[in-house]
């Protein structure tokens, strides 16, 4: 496919394009189903059984069970869809977004109150900003060494 994907060089960022959308179709449609209170109840009662009703890959199901949003996104999930899982868990958008950085809730919240993450070093892959791959996970978890 000769279409440009100029957004491939932005660090820590997955643009939800047609390719991701195809990959994540059932994962995202599962998330949409959580907009109904009955479905949220059924999911909470037996997550695995509820997930098995959907034509998702096993890895997508594992990523949901692990509540690993970065993993979900790699598998085609989109944050606006995935947010329905967080909502079902009673999480705020800030908690969800923070969970993808490796920071604790408090660390992420403090970063935001401090003016948010700087764009410096985070514009292109290969720079040295805190969103670059070699600097993950962030926060105290990162200081404890990679795992």
């Amino acid at each position: 496919m000769a279409l440009d994907k100029p957004y491939k060089d932005v660090p820590g960022t997955t643009i939800f394009d047609a390719e991701q959308s195809r990959k994540g179709y059932w994962l995202n449609q599962f998330c949409m189903s959580l907009m109904k209170a009955e479905n949220r109840e059924r999911f909470k009662k037996d997550e695995r059984a509820y997930l098995d009703e959907w034509a998702m890959t096993e890895e997508q199901k594992q990523a949901v069970l692990a509540r690993d949003l970065n993993w979900c996104i790699r598998l085609g999930g989109n944050i606006y869809f995935l947010a329905k899982i967080g909502a079902t868990d009673g999480k705020s958008f800030q908690q969800m977004a923070g969970s993808m950085t490796g920071m604790t809730e408090e660390e992420y919240r403090n970063m935001m109150i401090g003016g948010g993450r700087s764009v410096e070093g985070n514009r292109r892959i290969g720079e040295d900003g805190d969103a670059q791959a070699h600097r993950q996970p962030q926060g105290s978890q990162g200081k404890q060494g990679k795992h």
Binding site: P6, Y7, V10, P11, G12, T13, T14, I15, F16, D17, A18, S21, Y25, N28, Q29, C31, M32, L34, M35, K36, A37, R40, L69, N70, I73, N78, I79, Y80, F81, A83, K84, G86, A87, T88, S92, F93, Q94, M96, A97, G98, M100, T101, Y108, M111, M112, I113, G115, G116, R117, S118, V119, N122, R123, R124, A131, Q132, A133, Q136, P137, Q138
Partner: protein, 284 residues
């Protein structure tokens, strides 16, 4: 004849809606933000529109992956606040303006914009949070609202230039409507924010303030910003700013008229993950 007299721009963060719904607006975290909208609430009373044409994006609420319209106009008589997973917001039902909405749809399609016409759709925080910010917590919204949803979820979203040109077409459409109506057009979403991945939490005050400057005085330059610049500079969800250009293109100066008057401008960081920008422009 109907006229667009003003445009309003504001971010539409879900946490702002939650703060209002849960009575937290007085907390230190939220106080500075809501202070920035005090002027706006009074301005809405002093400049009450007959109809608001509200440009926003659906956040995987009314539209799943089964159906992704680039531009969708709501022509129904009413729209229910959506359950986005936390239960529906306790805000009034949104009354539409089917006659004006259908008129705009017809005119804009004939100006080569390939709209999708929608008669059944729940509206999410993208639409209700701006209403809450501008109108507070009334029993009913002060006027009918025409929802206009733009795809900014699945790439490619429409370009800034396309959005700006659409604004011009909407203005022509409104001005060809016979009834005397005072119409406001709102552009919502943005400013800088990223909700995903290790880069979540990105904020770029310089970009945001420059965007507000351009919106005031050089909207053509704002319209020329390519997608990749929004993603790179303002975060992956900062792309929502293209919606502001639809409202901006509907102002008189985009059709050769005088520059609008800046009635109000406000900027605050953060609301949850997001930089909040807000602007009110009045046609002279």
């Amino acid at each position: 004849m109907a006229r667009i007299t003003a445009s309003v721009y504001t971010s539409h963060v879900p946490a702002i809606g939650a703060a209002m719904d849960l009575g937290k607006t007085g907390e230190p975290y939220w106080q500075p933000l809501f202070k920035g909208y005090e002027f706006s609430k009074q301005w809405m009373k002093d400049n009450k529109p007959d109809v608001v044409f509200l440009v926003y994006n659906d956040h995987a609420t009314a539209f799943s992956l089964d159906f992704i319209p680039t531009f969708a106009i709501g022509t129904a008589a009413e729209f229910q606040p959506a359950d986005e997973g936390w239960g529906p917001r306790p805000v009034p039902v949104v009354k539409g303006h089917p006659e004006l909405a259908s008129h705009i749809a017809q005119s804009v399609i004939q100006q080569d914009f390939d709209l999708t016409i929608v008669n059944k759709m729940d509206v999410d925080h993208g639409l209700t949070v701006p209403l809450s910010l501008m109108c507070g917590q009334p029993q009913a919204w002060p006027c009918p609202v025409i929802p206009f949803a733009v795809n900014v979820v699945q790439y490619p979203v429409p370009s800034g230039q396309r959005c700006y040109n659409l604004g011009k077409a909407i203005r022509k459409a409104v001005e060809s409507y016979d009834e005397d109506l005072n119409v406001h057009i709102w552009g919502t979403g943005g400013m800088s924010h990223q909700l995903q991945g290790p880069r979540a939490g990105l904020i770029n005050k310089d970009f945001d303030n420059r965007f507000l400057d351009l919106l005031e005085t050089d909207p053509e330059a704002a319209a020329a910003i390519p997608h990749i610049d929004y993603v790179r500079e303002a975060g992956s969800e900062g792309i929502e700013l293209v919606m502001w250009l639809i409202a901006r293109g509907a102002m008189a100066d985009a059709a050769g008229g005088p520059r609008p008057k800046v009635a109000h401008r406000f900027f605050h960081v953060p609301a949850s993950n997001t930089a909040v920008g807000h602007l009110i422009l009045e046609n002279q």
